[in-house]
Structure formats: C-alpha cells, structure tokens
Amino acid sequence: MSDSHIHGDDKWSHSHPKQPDIEDGPLTDYMVMTEAVGDLLIEKGVFSAGDLRAMIESIDTKSPTDGGRVIARAWLDQEFKVRFMEDVNAAAEELGIDAGTIPIRAVENTSEVHNVIVCTLCSCYPRMLLGLPPDWYKARAYRSRVVRDPRGVLREFGTEISSDVEIRVHDSTADLRYMVLPMRPDGTEGMGEGELAAIVNRDSMIGVTTVRKP
C-alpha cells in the first residue's frame, strides 16, 4: 500500500510513505498491478489517497459483531423487529451501525421456514453487517451445491433441518442483499442484549447454521 497499512489485529494504523506491505508475502504480478493501479487512480484524481485509506479502514472495522447486535435487538424489542424486517439499513442506523446504501432484506427463520443465503453468480453478501465473506461462501462448492442440495450442504455445517420445515434458498444479486434473522434459542430468556449479541454466530445470519444456547 502506498500510504499506510493497517495492522489488522489491533486496528492500529500508522503511516509508511511508499513502503511495501511486508505481510503480503512473495510479490506477485497481481500485487504489483494492484499497487500500480491504485497509485495511478490517486494521481489522476479519481479518488484521493485519503479516500482509499479510509475505505480500507472501513473494511477492517466491519465484522459479524455488528450483525449480532442488530439481531439481539430484534429478538428483544418487537417494535424494532418490525422496523428491521421492513428496512434493515434504517434499523441498523438506529444502533449507530452503517449498513451502507445497498438495501438489505431480512428473512426470518421460524419453526416452519429455514432461510439460507447464497450468491450463485458471484459473492453478494451482507458485508456491511458481517464483514468480508469467508472463502467458502465465494467458492464453487457452496455456490453450486446449496441450490441443488441445501439440506446436504447444511448437514456439512452440522445443521440438521427437520423434514417438515420448508427450506428457502435465496439467491442474492448486486441490487439487494439478504440477511437471516435466526431463531432465538430456547432457554435464553434471562440473557441480556449484549450476551445475546455475543452468541449470534456469523453463519447463522446467512442461515447456514443456527444459534445455540451457550
């Protein structure tokens, strides 16, 4: 990176003018291309070095923690849940979470319907609330098989869906994103919002797993 890099572990960043990224490992043509293209776009004023730095920092701050907070609130606050089901982006904003400009649509898992999210075309994912997608979400196996055999794929993740529950697979597109509102596990009645947020795992918010009582 030309201007700075970010130490992902502690989110501590500092400036290294024109210093390469030691963490990148052996230099490939694609890394060189990436650095060159970024520098040229900055020089041409397409965007500024500050814009690029801010965007990388923003990518680093996104994680499933944000999604978990929204889900926990929806479990606890019925009126919030109604607003969340209508407009995820606006509901997240209420909690001070920037869910971006691409509309996110919530689908609710119940005892009758289990929703699963995939993007068979590419890698559309509610990344503003979950962070960057895991490799398997973008890989061939998940994308090709989850529409063909959703129950089998879920089983590989340790998720067994009863045969009387309808499975609904949602194929995302670039124009809008999906996010699953998982079922709140039994026996969590006494848990507070923070505790509930902490048990919401990333994959449950795309329906590949469920949330379990700790």
Binding site: M1, I6, D24, A36, V37, L41, V46, S123, L132, R145
Partner: protein, 99 residues
C-alpha cells in the same frame, strides 16, 4: 454456477492480505455513488471475459484486479503504457526495500 456438480464445501477461511483489501477498497470506490467509474456488472463481465481456465487458476482478488484493470484501460482511465511503467516502478521500489 448454481446446480453444477461439486465436492464438499471446504470450510476454510483466511485472513485477507493487505493487497486483497486494497483491491476491495479500489473496487468499492470505483463503484461508489460518489465516483461511478465502474459498475459491478462490468466487473463481473470482465471476470467472465478472462475465460474459464483463468477463472479457476486465479484467486478471487486476482480475478478482480485483472478485471478492474482491463476495464479501466478500455474506458481510457489509464493507459497500457503508463500502467506498464508504473508496475516497473513498483517492482524497483520493492527491490530497493530489499523484498
């Protein structure tokens, strides 16, 4: 690729390298409402244009930066010549830094 035959889902994950995040950030900026230099559909078309063999050989962000670069050249945002020279500079810079 929905419905095609494929093996088990390899539930592997890796932490994204700084250069991968840079590719992601460049694309986010280029497709952002503020700039609108590239659309997501152009990015995908560019990836498809890389051909089926390349699709499997390259990693996710290698495909992205290849597609982004080709589209920027097509649109005249950057030229082949200046890109080539700048890539040489980047390599020279790295060598100086002893990497």
């Amino acid at each position: 690729m929905g419905g095609l035959e494929a093996g088990p889902v390899e539930q592997s994950e890796h932490d994204y390298a700084p250069w991968e995040k840079r590719v992601d950030a460049i694309m986010r900026l280029l497709t952002g409402k503020q700039y609108e230099v590239i659309t997501v559909d152009e990015l995908r078309r560019g990836i498809e244009d890389l051909g089926p063999g390349v699709y499997d050989e390259l990693s996710y962000y290698e495909r992205w930066i290849s597609s982004i670069t080709n589209i920027l050249i097509e649109k005249g945002v950057i030229s082949v010549d200046e890109l080539g020279r700048r890539m040489e500079d980047v390599c020279a810079r790295r060598e100086e830094a002893g990497i």
